[in-house]
């Protein structure tokens, strides 16, 4: 997935061309940036996820007590998923422990085991869907995709109703998701924040610049996930191979809005933080024109996604297919621009971790 990095790795950083050569960002610059990322994006992001999952759990409970609130459940589900998409790009720290990243959203399910496992789980009428159940359950049963199946699936009108298994399952699952989100928020507050902002106080990051590396990975690498999974896996090599039902959130109709949300979060890491952003650091390195062009490309791609409509049916019409393939190319190009940006800032995203042997 990451072999494009070798291409960018061969390109010289743009700063080599600039005269005079400027010093790379200082420790203080990175410290300020890291603090901005944690305080302005990561902590609020997990807090929002907790709040939205709390609302979702309440709404599912109300629906399962009183009935007739499926529309509201769907709406709060979409908001919770949106909150997850806004922080999904952070793939370091507490999210990596105990496979939480897979438990929250096991996707893509290329082995196709999820559907069968969920069917089986929902057919166990004597099952107690409590915290222990979900702790021990397969990741296919633990996260958003399983909940999406219950809430948006064909059987929702008949079976996601008070007193039914689907309701008990959804209540337990939304409680479980909420618990995981609370753990993430607390562990970021209690531990990961300190590691990232005070590198000298732990044996993790060796410097403020080293602490910025996982943030820079969080900025750049999700573009490869969007390209490879959210688009290429759906589109295949040709229009004949394209399958919208492989897409991330086709049941809830959020596949495209997910990409939009991801891009907005990445752009925030790039240019939206105060008082220092990646864009301002690049500008300070004498690469203001390049920095601005990357920011504009973020804007342009988001406008491109916003202009598209989610398909109603399984088929992807030829026009949308072409537009999505253009989007895939644009995202690939944007990744390469960010790789160049990392070169200017003297940040290595990875070497041994990317191309193993």
């Amino acid at each position: 997935m990451l072999n494009k990095t070798s291409l960018a790795g061969l390109l010289l950083p743009l700063a080599v061309l600039a005269t005079p050569v400027l010093a790379e960002p200082s420790a203080e610059d990175w410290q300020t940036y890291n603090r901005a990322a944690v305080e302005q994006q990561i902590l609020p992001g997990y807090n929002r996820l907790v709040n939205k999952l709390d609302s979702l759990h309440q709404q599912i409970t109300n629906h399962c007590d009183q009935g007739n609130q499926l529309a509201q459940v769907k709406s709060t589900y979409r908001e919770a998923m949106d909150a997850w998409q806004a922080i999904q790009h952070v793939q370091f720290g507490p999210i990596t422990l105990f496979m939480r990243n897979y438990a929250i959203q096991y996707w893509p399910d290329k082995r196709g085991t999820g559907a069968r496992q969920i069917r089986q789980a929902l057919n166990q009428s004597d099952q107690n869907y409590d915290a222990d159940y979900f702790r021990e359950a397969s990741v296919s049963l633990q996260g958003f995709p399983a909940l999406e199946r219950v809430v948006f699936g064909n059987e929702a009108d008949n079976r996601f109703q008070p007193g039914q298994n689907h309701c008990r399952f959804a209540q337990g699952l939304s409680q479980h998701l909420l618990g995981t989100a609370r753990e993430l928020e607390q562990e970021w507050q209690n531990q990961e924040k300190q590691r990232l902002l005070n590198p000298e106080s732990s044996q993790y990051f060796a410097s403020h610049a080293a602490a910025a590396v996982p943030l820079m990975k969080s900025l750049a690498e999700p573009l490869l996930i969007i390209e490879d999974y959210k688009l290429e896996y759906v589109l295949g090599d040709s229009p004949e191979e394209a399958r919208w039902q492989r897409s991330e959130s086709w049941r809830s109709g959020q596949t495209l809005s997910n990409i939009q949300t991801n891009l907005a979060s990445l752009q925030e890491l790039y240019s939206g933080l105060e008082p220092i952003s990646v864009k301002s650091l690049l500008t300070a390195e004498g690469e203001g024109g390049f920095a601005e062009s990357v920011d504009q490309e973020f804007d342009r791609i988001q406008a491109q996604v916003a202009s598209l409509s989610e398909p109603e049916a399984a088929e992807i019409d030829p026009q949308l297919d072409r537009q999505l393939r253009e989007l895939e190319t644009a995202i690939s190009d944007l990744y390469e621009q960010l790789e160049l940006a990392m070169g200017v800032l003297n940040i290595h995203l990875g070497f041994n971790s990317r191309d193993g042997d």
């Binding site: 422990l97 044996q203 993790y204 590396v213 290595h348 041994n352 971790s353 193993g356 042997d357």
Partner: protein, 369 residues
């Protein structure tokens, strides 16, 4: 290739005292620091053999034709062998005394290196793990150092994709990791049917002495990197080719005559390793081992006498490992440029480069010289 054979013979016959008279082979004092060698990508995008010391000084930087993988040293001479990364075809021989290229060897037509080598304990033969042009079973190819590195024999490794291999303490037996993966270039072709194995071969006859595999459920755990303790215990770093959520062994150990044994990791650590371990290494005492996991940014530390997990050190993109002269202490190199000393029995971690690490990406393996 300019090697004066008479001079070479005299070198090989040299007594240890004479051999260690060479400056870079002298036992380093604390003030000099330990010397280590590793291949690396430089900031110019080219690949190098780098020789440095633990004081943070670079002693040699030697341009290589392409990206290399393991670096091995000659037991008696100041020769450092850089092995092309798979599927490469060069072995660069560098003299760490004269800082000159000693030789540049290429593989036989159609053969490809898997990136690993060993020199026989008597210093006479260079062994490399290689892909055969037509046979799926990998080879150890043996070159006579006294005869301009001519290939004198080869032996099947009894498995596909041999990778790292080491001498057993008897100096006669080789233990080989057969990764099990059939490749075309760097494309993997047989992940559904791969059958990795650990084999012990007689280094002269090529006879298969013992062959071990993990349980069939774990046939996608590629056995790739290993190290051997003075008592003959083998520690093994695995790379799982299956699904990211599967619960599979990532680190194993073996003694002759026994089954392969998984080393049990706490789930909190195991879940972070991304199914991939990069390098394995025993310490100077042979009691402790380190196994790096560059994708998880952790290096795990083990008491190998009890086969017990001790702790995990955070080293971002850390992969290359070497023992220092102190029990329980290791060097870990990072693809991001830094090198650390880490401890099996404490969480202390010291950077070798106090201020600015060099602008290089250290490659997967390092070796003391």
């Amino acid at each position: 290739m300019e090697i004066n054979r008479r001079q070479l013979l005299s070198w090989l016959a040299a007594t240890p005292a004479l051999a260690t008279a060479a400056p870079l082979l002298a036992t380093p004092t604390a003030a000099e620091g330990l010397r280590f060698a590793s291949s690396a990508r430089g900031s110019d995008g080219h690949y190098y053999l780098k020789i440095s010391n633990t004081l943070g000084e670079q002693l040699a930087s030697h341009r290589l034709p392409e990206r290399a993988h393991q670096v091995v040293t000659h037991p008696h001479q100041p020769w450092v062998y850089s092995l092309a990364r798979r599927p490469g075809d060069f072995i660069d021989v560098f003299n760490s005394d004269t800082l000159q290229t000693q030789a540049l060897i290429t593989t036989q037509p159609g053969y490809r290196l898997y990136g690993h080598a060993q020199v026989s304990p008597d210093g006479r033969y260079l062994y490399t793990s290689e892909r055969h042009p037509s046979d799926l079973e990998g080879r150890l190819v043996v070159r006579d150092i006294l005869a301009d590195y001519q290939v004198v024999r080869e032996m099947s490794t009894r498995g596909i994709g041999p990778h790292e291999f080491h001498w057993m303490p008897d100096g006669q037996t080789l233990v080989v990791a057969n990764g099990g993966i059939q490749t075309d270039g760097r494309e993997k072709l047989n992940l559904d049917s791969m059958q990795p194995s650990l084999v012990y071969l007689d280094s002269e006859s090529g006879e298969l002495l013992e062959k071990r595999s993990l349980h069939q459920d774990f046939h996608q755990c590629s056995i790739r990197h290993l190290d051997v303790a003075p008592d003959g215990q083998v520690v093994i770093a695995l790379q799982y080719q299956g699904h990211p959520i599967d619960q599979v062994p990532l680190i194993a150990a073996h003694r002759r005559g026994e089954e392969l044994a998984e080393l049990q990791l706490p789930e909190r650590i195991r879940s972070q390793l991304k199914q991939y371990c990069g390098s394995a290494c025993f310490d100077a005492s042979g009691r402790f081992a380190a196994v790096s996991a560059p994708r998880g940014n952790l290096t795990t530390l083990w008491d190998m006498q009890e086969r017990r997990f001790l702790n995990a050190a955070y080293v971002a993109d850390g992969c290359g490992l070497a023992p220092t002269t102190r029990a329980g202490e290791f060097l870990v190199s990072s693809g991001l440029g830094q090198i650390f000393t880490i401890q099996a029995l404490s969480e202390e971690r010291q950077p070798v480069y106090a201020a600015n690490p060099p602008q290089v990406n250290w490659d997967n393996h390092m070796t003391l010289i």
